[in-house]
């Protein structure tokens, strides 16, 4: 399972600073002009989308929810369960 973060409305400089400050171990992508944000439905943040990539190359959203979580272990287990891995 891979994680990508999208900085809605943030510049590369801002995302880079955020990534270093909080030692974010996964890729963060700046989305300064909100192009990605728009495609994903202009959601509020934080927002999590789980995408399963099928063998035939098609994508399947298995999770889409607004808001953070308290326990990362529980959240990971939920993702594993919902994605059917």
């Amino acid at each position: 399972m891979k994680v990508i973060g999208i900085g809605a409305g943030n510049t590369p400089f801002e995302v880079n600073f955020f990534q270093k400050k909080y030692e974010v171990p996964f890729p963060l992508v700046p989305d300064e002009d909100l192009a990605v944000h728009k495609v994903l439905g202009e959601v509020r943040t934080p927002y999590f989308i789980g995408v399963k990539i099928n063998e035939d190359g098609s994508n399947e959203v298995f999770y889409s929810k607004l808001g953070g979580f308290k326990d990362s272990g529980e959240f990971l287990n939920l993702m594993i369960k919902l994605s059917g891995l």
């Binding site: 399972m1 891979k2 994680v3 990508i4 973060g5 999208i6 900085g7 809605a8 409305g9 943030n10 510049t11 400089f13 801002e14 600073f17 955020f18 400050k21 909100l34 944000h37 994903l40 202009e42 959601v43 509020r44 943040t45 934080p46 927002y47 999590f48 989308i49 789980g50 995408v51 399963k52 990539i53 099928n54 063998e55 190359g57 298995f62 999770y63 607004l66 808001g67 953070g68 993702m79 994605s83 891995l85």
Partner: protein
């Protein structure tokens, strides 16, 4: 296990996380849900400039949300000062701009700069608004000052009071000698990029 190639990365499943700090997207953090007043698109600038780079910054004394008063002159000879005027509490872009500066404290420290946040709102409103602003508790590290009464007097002095009584979204960088080194009367609808301010702070030490 199902494995699918996507570009050069082997993916099983991906998790996209959308986050926003200093976001321009409508005070969009979940924390502010339903608390932000939708102002719509406003005239980008609505004031007449009074200051220019090289001028001495007009002194002022304003009440701070954390108590007491803050004067610009108390930083003279000690710190560079960044003044961030934002139009009003509980409005879209402002509700993202200051939380971003709150995260970026190290950058201000690096350039021996203090940030003063100013709006024309009264203290109780600023108190509620800034309390909501702090991610994960705590408080803002920089003084938030109320230019409520006489209404917008400091904003007026700095040439950033709009015709409807709120201020522009404006940044002033004032050096340790009290001289204005940078003015950005920004489009009120958008948030200034952090790197633009950092670039100006860098110039101070050259």
């Amino acid at each position: 296990m199902v494995r699918t190639r996507l570009g050069s990365i082997i993916w099983v499943a991906g998790l996209l996380v959308l986050f926003g700090w200093m976001s321009t997207a409508l005070g969009q953090t979940q924390k502010f849900k339903e608390s932000i007043y939708p102002v719509g698109k406003l005239k980008p600038r609505d004031s007449v400039p009074k200051l220019k780079v090289g001028d001495e910054a007009p002194d002022f004394t304003l009440p701070a949300v954390r108590g007491g008063e803050v004067s610009l002159s108390e930083y003279r000879g000690k710190k560079n000062v960044v003044i961030s005027f934002v139009p009003a509490a509980w409005t879209p872009v402002c509700s993202d701009q200051w939380p971003g500066y709150n995260i970026a404290k190290e950058i201000f420290d690096q350039y021996n700069a203090i940030l003063l946040g100013i709006t024309v709102d009264n203290i109780p409103t600023l108190y509620s608004w800034t309390n909501q602003m702090c991610m994960g508790g705590g408080s803002l590290w920089f003084p938030v000052l109320s230019d409520f009464w006489p209404h917008g007097a400091v904003a007026f002095k700095y040439g950033v009071l709009r015709s409807d009584g709120v201020s522009e979204r404006a940044l002033f960088v004032i050096d340790e000698k009290g001289i204005v080194r940078y003015i950005d009367v920004h489009d009120i609808n958008t948030r200034p990029r952090l790197e633009a301010l950092v670039g100006e702070l860098e110039k101070l030490n050259k």
